[in-house]
Symmetry: C2
Subunit: 159 residues, 2 copies
């Protein structure tokens, strides 16, 4: 690991490696090396270096949420009535830890949090909001928007 504040300098090969790994972390070193025209040993070395530098922080499996029985997604905007540090961070912890929450964004503006959630159906969504969001005293208002679709973006390195 390195100083997490100072940006790392990457060359073109690093960028291509990161792009490839961001798209498919399961790719084998052999395949990657072949695709980029590197020796396998070199490719493995650079990937390890990127990991040790902290640029690659881990890998997560992507799940088909609909197949798992959670075909409905929503974005829930949460607005607080009180913004003491303790209130905000405690609620943030609680919301992020609630099953069904895919991501919790703490944002600036009129709303405080955006919760991206996946649920079984409309009824489960209503229950989620009532039981796990508005049930917190500090929550003053919520606004729930159905998510038609989520797409992975090009990312900071482009595609």
């Amino acid at each position: 690991m390195r100083n997490p504040q100072r940006p790392v300098t990457l060359d073109h090969v690093d960028r291509r490696l990161l792009r490839a790994l961001a798209g498919d972390a399961g790719v084998t070193n052999k395949a990657l090396a072949g695709r980029l025209g590197l020796a396998e040993s070199t490719c493995a070395y650079r990937i390890r270096a990127l990991r040790e530098a902290g640029v690659v922080t881990g890998a997560r499996a992507q799940l088909d949420l609909a197949l798992l029985g959670y075909p409905l997604q929503a974005m829930i905007k949460v607005r607080l009535g009180s913004h003491t540090m303790a209130n905000v961070s405690q609620l943030y912890d609680a919301l992020a830890a609630t099953p069904g929450v895919l991501q919790a964004f703490h944002v600036a503006g009129a709303d405080d949090f955006y919760l991206h959630v996946a649920v079984e159906n409309a009824e489960a969504l209503r229950d989620f909001v009532l039981r796990h969001v508005t049930s917190h005293r500090v929550v003053r208002q919520t606004e729930t928007h159905l998510v038609f679709e989520v797409r992975p973006g090009a990312g900071v390195l482009g595609d």
Copy 2:
């Protein structure tokens, strides 16, 4: 692969496997089997079955965006002036493919898209909005909110 519409039935072991893989896709089969108390052959078999069932769709490396030089994140709400199918899907394609976009949400409500983006600094954020969002004719209005922090949620399986 299976019929992508019909939910799969998972037992408790499958759930634990998916939770583990969602948190760290890089874990070795040996370690996973040991942790869950399975034979390595059984563990490998079940993981492959989950993959073939389409439950696990892939794996993505997580990058430290600040270390890469993109320490600033924002959520940009995008509202269109015309909602023909062609307009919407074409803009969606263009926005998702724009470098800097981490995720693009197509949502119901007054706003049409939420763009989660990462940029170098405030100036880059302004340029992003002007050059890649409001430059599209069909975009009527945008609203940009700084993202203080993003947390991975517990996910549909809990943590």
